[in-house]
């Protein structure tokens, strides 16, 4: 049953992961004349964190920002401030790059058939612009439900080869450079080995499956798409010797939930801004609605900043009241008909909100009279991490390995950000294509990896009555939930590391088919990731932002903003401190 057909390919550029970042990289690399192969675990049409849609994307918007007086520097400063929270670990050189290039890169989506301009808009350019929770209102609100099918179609038309349902298990290295990767099928008994001049890691930035779900829904009620949330990119990269930074685990309590979504900030707000408000059982207003400013207000910038500060303060009341046992509701009683029409439109374009829209519509819900309970949500487990790059060339410390999208450290939000995925995807594609032109094709070095992968797959597939992946994942999540994401001491961390190792050593995974095998590999990646996370926290030895050490007195705080890099050398986890001040 475990006879895998081995298929070998040679190309200029290999891209691991076909989400927004990976497809943007593929498109730009192909436009620059490179042959490109994408290995995608799901199907690039609907994979990644934007698989079923994206309704807003951050950008510098010249028509609007120019009129108000927001500079690119304002946007960069805003990203630096928000992305730095809660760790304070941002890279100003990268947020500067984003601010300078987003204007051209993001609106490129319009060329792929996505609607960005609306006749009823009062904003310059005809755009719909949502502020989210930023000091600079900077997200296009657009019809992006089919952003992935559109990007995938364009990439295929350009001649990019996309191999779907291929789960990448290891990067191939030769003399300190990456020379390709090996993947295994999630539906077919196929192992794919690609030799490439340059490789771009465009895996998802999130690893939310380290912790139990955000809400009390089904198994996979996580923030990001589950298949993209196993942290596999970080594990692959670290194994190849690449430095993964700031893997500290923060057990971010998501605050409150609405309609199957959980929020920390920005709600009521986001796509619903400014019409929603929070009321109590007696319909007394707890958090009032806000009102946007007309774009010709001469004092827009100052007033807007105050508005965001004030509404953030108001929203801060929600969690304490819920903790006191108060019943709170979201309603739209003060919304105008036009605003309610807008909300119905907005709900249709981003992932699960489209499902919620259908659900509400099919039950005849009237936003004028409905109110929605707001409840305390569970925990989320963002891992502020990604691959270290020395500069905006986006090459990692490992030669010929580039990073794109949300797997890039030091930019974006603590949570994934589509604008960054796109801008740094295009950049990685352009840079990797330039390097490929001056690089020779390496000899195929995948033999040993293929052999070991076949053996591992065979063992899991043939084992009877072993551990099911779901139970193994559950066990890991319990360990993480109980032991990480709280103020740390060295002693507690050492104990957690021992428990993790013991649990991992005792695992005897079995899988009935390739689908379960792929899930089993994801669980193994989660265990590997947990080991990296613990090593990272132990190396920090000081408090920064939300990373709190109780034994800090023994470990005096180092320079603010340092990053901790973890990687593997000869199989062993290594950690070191890097200065962010590049």
């Amino acid at each position: 049953m475990s006879d895998f057909e081995v298929r070998k390919y040679v190309t200029d550029i290999l891209i691991v992961g076909g989400g927004i970042g990976g497809l943007a990289a593929a498109i730009r690399a192909r436009e620059n004349g490179a042959d490109v192969i994408v290995l995608e675990k799901a199907n690039a049409r609907r994979s990644g964190l934007a698989g079923s849609g994206l309704d807003h994307i951050q950008s510098y918007i010249p028509e609007f920002h120019g009129k108000i007086g927001y500079s690119e520097e304002d946007l960069s400063a805003d990203q630096f401030e928000f992305g730095g929270n809660p760790g304070g670990l941002h890279r100003k050189d990268l947020t500067d790059y984003f601010a300078a290039h987003s204007a051209a890169d993001v609106i490129e989506l319009e060329k792929y058939g996505l609607k960005f301009r609306f006749e009823d808009s009062d904003r310059p350019g005809g755009f719909r612009i949502v502020p989210q929770f930023h000091n600079v209102p900077s997200s296009y609100h657009f019809e992006g439900r089919d952003v992935k099918p559109a990007l995938a179609k364009h990439a295929l038309e350009l001649g990019v080869k996309i191999f779907n349902r291929q789960h990448v298990r290891e990067l191939v290295t030769d003399g300190g450079a990456v020379t390709g990767a090996v993947s295994i099928g999630t539906r077919d008994y196929v192992i794919t080995a690609v030799s490439a001049k340059t490789t771009i890691l465009a895996t998802s930035g999130v690893a939310s499956r380290l912790s139990s779900g955000v809400t009390n829904g089904d198994t996979f009620e996580t923030f990001g798409t589950p298949t993209a949330s196993a942290g596999s990119g970080k594990v692959l990269a670290a194994k190849a010797g690449a430095e993964v930074v700031n893997l500290e685990f923060i057990n971010l309590v998501t605050g409150y939930s609405f309609q199957n979504y959980s929020f920390t900030i920005g709600f009521p707000g986001g796509s619903w801004w400014p019409a929603g408000r929070i009321v109590d059982e007696d319909c007394q207003v707890v958090v009032p609605r806000t009102r946007d400013l007309p774009p010709d207000d001469p004092d827009y910038k100052a007033k807007y900043r105050e508005l965001i500060r004030h509404s953030g303060e108001e929203r801060g009341k929600i969690v304490p009241l819920l903790l006191q046992g108060k019943n709170l509701y979201f309603d739209l009683q003060e919304a105008t008909d036009a605003e309610i029409d807008y909300i119905w439109w907005a709900l249709g374009h981003e992932g699960k909100s489209g499902v919620i829209k259908h659900h509400l519509a099919s039950r005849g819900v009237n936003f004028k009279t409905a109110r929605f309970p707001v409840r305390l949500a569970g925990k989320n487990a963002p891992v502020l991490a990604g691959l270290w790059v020395k500069d905006s060339s986006l090459e990692t410390n490992i030669q010929n390995l580039y990073v794109a999208g949300n797997e890039l450290a030091g930019t974006g939000m603590p949570l994934p950000a589509a604008g960054n995925a796109l801008v740094f995807g295009f950049r990685a594609g352009e840079q990797a294509a330039a390097r490929a032109k001056e690089t020779d094709t390496a000899a195929d070095g995948s033999g040993a990896i293929i052999q070991s992968l076949q053996a591992q797959a065979g063992e899991i597939l043939s084992r009877e009555n072993g551990d099911h992946w779901f139970n193994a994942e559950d066990g890991l999540q319990i360990l993480i939930d109980n032991n990480l994401g709280k103020p740390y001491t060295e002693n507690a961390l050492a104990l957690t590391a021992q428990l993790l190792q013991k649990q991992r050593d005792g695992l005897k995974l079995s899988a009935a088919n390739l689908h379960e095998l792929s899930r089993s590999f994801e669980v193994l990646d989660l265990y590997d990731l947990a080991e990296l996370v613990i090593a990272s926290i132990r190396e920090r030895k000081s408090s920064v932002g939300s990373f709190v050490r109780l034994d800090e007195a023994k470990y005096p705080a180092e320079k603010y903003g340092d990053s901790i890099a973890v990687y593997r050398k000869d199989g062993k986890v290594k950690a070191r401190r890097l200065s962010n001040l590049v």
């Binding site: 799901a42 990644g48 198994t219 996979f220 993209a228 992932g351 699960k352 099919s362």
Partner: protein, 79 residues
């Protein structure tokens, strides 16, 4: 069960099977079937890509979504 498939409408085209990011669907006897219901995270991809409108994602009322009609009016409106 998060995914409801109307077998009268399903033509067995397989678009949903292709799209599903979690690989939970397949075609059996000419119709789409859900193999791994608890791995569905209700993203809606199968609904969007179904050409015959045969799929609905069920949001279980207790876990996911609740709404109530307003019975009192708000006195704090600044309208």
């Amino acid at each position: 069960m998060a995914i409801l498939i109307d077998s009268n409408l399903c033509t067995g085209c397989g678009n949903c099977v292709e799209s599903c990011p979690e690989d939970v669907l397949s075609i059996a006897k000419g119709k789409a079937v859900v193999n791994y219901p608890r791995e569905c995270w209700r993203c809606g991809s199968c609904v969007y890509d179904c050409p015959s409108g045969a799929i609905e994602v069920d949001l279980d009322a207790d876990n996911s979504i609740r709404f109530v009609e307003i019975t009192t009016t708000n006195s704090n409106s600044d309208k």
